[in-house]
Amino acid sequence: MAADTTLAIEATGLVKSFGDTRAVDGVDLRVRRGAVYGVLGPNGAGKTTTIRMLATLIRPDAGSAHVLGHDIVKDADGVRGAVSLTGQLASVDEDLTGRENLILIGRLLGLRRQAAKDRAGELLAAFGLTEAAGKLVKNYSGGMRRRLDIAASIVVTPELMFLDEPTTGLDPRSRNQVWGIIRALVAEGTTILLCTQYLEEADQLCERIAVIDRGTVIAEGTPSELKASVGSGALHVRLIDPEQRLAAAQVLERELGTVELEADPTALSASCSDADRAAEAVAELTRAGVRIAGFSLGQPSLDEVFLALTGHTAQDAADESTSTEEQAA
């Protein structure tokens, strides 16, 4: 099979079972070189198992894939020589210091002793870890650990990087830093396969997204296409006077369609994905004399995406197949 050279990842019909459970059940992926490609899905959807197959950690039961032109089964070593993996569990050694971790990886990639030390110093500084360099990683915070993990992945710059839920469990500030690092990687030409549970993260970073559920890709496209296919986000409006809510509901129903009254007696929302129409509707409210305390246009959540695409929520899917992912991990 000739691999398409413009593609960083080309996977066809990947299948992996653990016991009776099909963790991945026929996944196809095509990822352009230089792109950030999102794999979006709840816990246990098969994201991690897919990444582990592409990173040559486990063999697929069926199907095939080329990563940067290397067959993941026949030329696993070729794949390993060009990619790096930042796993869901931080892929660093807790019993070593941050600096020792980076030197270790540098040496294993073939850097000489002094070069590995220098590289570790450079990365620690770039990732804001110089002060913590001599501390054991088990004493690091979640954000520091994650940064070290990514630093370890670029000791030698990979052509392609697998990032498995890089921001799960991080506070917003650490999350923003990780996003910044991802953008820097992309700007330097690294292709990234990003697994995430967060639609917002995929939307912020990814050129295309595959939504994965119960081991299969159920939707694929740009973030906008995906959101459009899901239908809509919602315009949330908060009023100053709860007495005006009924009047406001009538205006929004006329402008946007379905309106929902929220538990807060001053709040209501209407489904809407188009910012212009939302602005128009808000203007109509003002014209009708409704006094507005605030409004926002929310994107559909992962739950809404899932509900729209699958008819069940992300949480249901996670509950059903958590055990699968645990086995896979």
Binding site: D95, L96, L129, G142, I181
Partner: protein
């Protein structure tokens, strides 16, 4: 994941995007390290762990030290007529026991590694795939030497006087370490098959404990029931203890040493590929 880390001054605790971009572009891929270099790097990792978690070493030296003291002073007189006489017999055997017990920890450590994400990184690196395993066993061998040295020094302090002097003692220690390297592969295999570090520990000691006691480490087998004596005589641990005694006291049989080395080689040939295959499979 800890949320209690102390706040860092903003100037140094933030990732600097410009510096990250520079770091990404400032390196080109070096040639891959040789298999030996990769393995030695993992050996270095093992040494670092001893440095950061010295308790590990303590765990495995306390038991043999206790055994030396207990057996020498409690049973020495009864078994061999005098404590000094018994120490002469016991110490080379305790060296064997102490170091062999340590081998179980190779499996425990590997299993502990597996429960963390770091193994995924190692397995995704373009290196000789058994390197992490061979390397940690090289590191463990250094631990065996350290543990064995503690026992020998204790023995010397208690009045143990090897007839073959320092050379004999070093030869015995070397033989024990080589055998332990082979035996370790059994426990690394176990470490990849069982679910938790404590399961590996339990299973490991369930095997090594009776095997060590049903040997000539503590007593001459000629007082034992016939069937048991027959078993003790062919137990490789007995042969290792006999060889170790022989080397320390200057009356070693070449045949014993050959058998010990052959068993070590056989264990390695069977269990090293098995461990590697299991490790690769993930």
């Amino acid at each position: 994941m800890s949320t209690t880390a102390p706040p860092q001054p903003a100037a140094t605790s933030e990732a600097d995007e410009a510096a990250v971009r520079k770091a990404i572009s400032s390196i080109s891929r070096p040639p891959r390290p040789s298999a030996a270099a990769a393995a030695l790097t993992f050996g270095w990792r093992g040494m670092l762990k001893v440095k950061h978690v010295p308790e590990q070493l303590l765990d495995v030296t306390i038991t043999p030290v206790m055994f030396v003291l207990m057996f020498t002073y409690l049973f020495g007189g009864a078994i061999a007529g005098s404590t000094s006489e018994y120490l002469h017999y016991l110490l080379p055997g305790i060296l064997v026991m102490g170091v062999l017990f340590t081998t179980v920890y190779s499996g425990v450590a590997l299993n502990t590694d597996l429960t963390k994400g770091v193994v995924d990184r190692f397995r995704s690196l373009p290196i000789w795939s058994p390197a992490p395993l061979v390397g940690s066993l090289i590191g463990d061998s250094v631990r065996y030497v350290l543990g064995g040295t503690v026992i020998i020094v204790l023995g010397l302090a208690l009045g143990f006087r090897p007839d073959a002097g320092i050379v004999g003692v070093l030869a015995a220690l070397g033989l024990v370490v080589v055998f332990s390297f082979g035996l370790s592969w059994v426990f690394t295999t176990l470490g990849l098959l069982l679910r938790s570090p404590s399961a590996v520990m339990n299973a490991g000691f369930m095997g090594i404990f009776p095997l060590t006691f049903l040997s000539n480490v503590f007593v001459e087998p000629d007082t034992l029931p016939k069937a048991l004596e027959a078993f003790v005589d062919v137990n490789p641990i007995s042969i290792l203890a006999t060889a170790s005694r022989g080397l320390m006291h200057g009356n070693a049989q070449v045949s014993d040493i050959v058998i010990v080395l052959a068993v070590a080689a056989a264990l390695t040939l069977i269990f090293a590929p098995l461990t590697t295959r299991l490790y690769r499979k993930g």
